[in-house]
Amino acid sequence: MGRGLRPLAAGALVAAGTFALATARVFAPPTTAAAGPGDPYRGELVFERACASCHGRSGEGGVGPRLAGSGLTAAQVTLRVRQGGGVMPAGLVSGQEEADVVAYVVSLAAP
């Protein structure tokens, strides 16, 4: 291999490794289940910190859509938290915080 190609080859190798890691998402929480039972009371604190600026303190809506009374299920909320959507970034919270905030949003969303 030509000497000048070594940095390019090394860079390509590192990029390939990064892509493999990103595809594997080795530390991503499981997609089928939350990290643990969600606690809506702790979730309210997470919601105030991470969600209320867009969805309103009581989920009444704002920049983000209305959540209160929307009938969203835990699976729908979890998916949106993980994948984001519109102006909402993916992964705003994760792990136990995600489980807690999902439990809280589901309680808000009950019609």
Binding site: P7, L8, A15, T18, A22, F27, P29, C54, G85, S94
Partner: protein
């Protein structure tokens, strides 16, 4: 340690300082991006293109090395969260561009480090590698932190 608990530990650490993991990433990336300008300015001075810093001074070279190390260190938590938790995603153009640039970021960094150490390469190789790395980091910042600050919220 189970993957979910690794994510939990990371979340706890990030939210000890910042309001959310995404805010932590945005600010750490902003710190790294600010250091990119230090890198560009000191590199330009080392090459004699800027004159407001001491020419060929060891201080300039030291500042260049340490700002690069600090920028790299700031990107590590961002890399961890983006690559091992969020992963490669393509739900829209912004995220797709960000994922693609992020995939190549450490590859460009590795190439640049090797170019620095190889004195047999032509003179244009190092500036080209440095500009490629700065451009990649700039693109990553534009498609993440700037977007977050302007479209979601500006704050810790």
């Amino acid at each position: 340690m189970a993957p979910a608990s690794v994510a939990d530990v990371y979340t706890d650490l990030a939210t000890a300082v910042f309001s959310s993991t995404i805010a932590a990433k945005a600010w750490l990336a902003t710190g790294a991006f600010a250091l990119v300008f230090v890198q560009l300015a000191t590199a330009a001075r080392i090459y004699g293109r800027l004159r407001f810093l001491p020419r060929r001074g060891r201080a300039v070279a030291r500042l260049h090395r340490w700002s690069g190390r600090a920028a790299f260190a700031l990107t590590l938590p961002v890399f961890f969260h983006c690559v091992t938790i969020l992963g490669f995603q393509t739900p829209d153009a912004r995220v797709a561009v960000h994922s693609l640039a992020g995939t190549f970021a450490y590859g460009v960094f590795a190439a640049k480090v090797l170019v620095v150490r190889d004195r047999a390469l032509p003179g244009w190789a190092l500036p080209a590698a440095g500009i490629a790395l700065a451009s990649t980091l700039g693109l990553l910042w534009l498609t993440s932190a700037l977007w977050y600050f302007t479209r979601v919220r500006f704050g810790l």
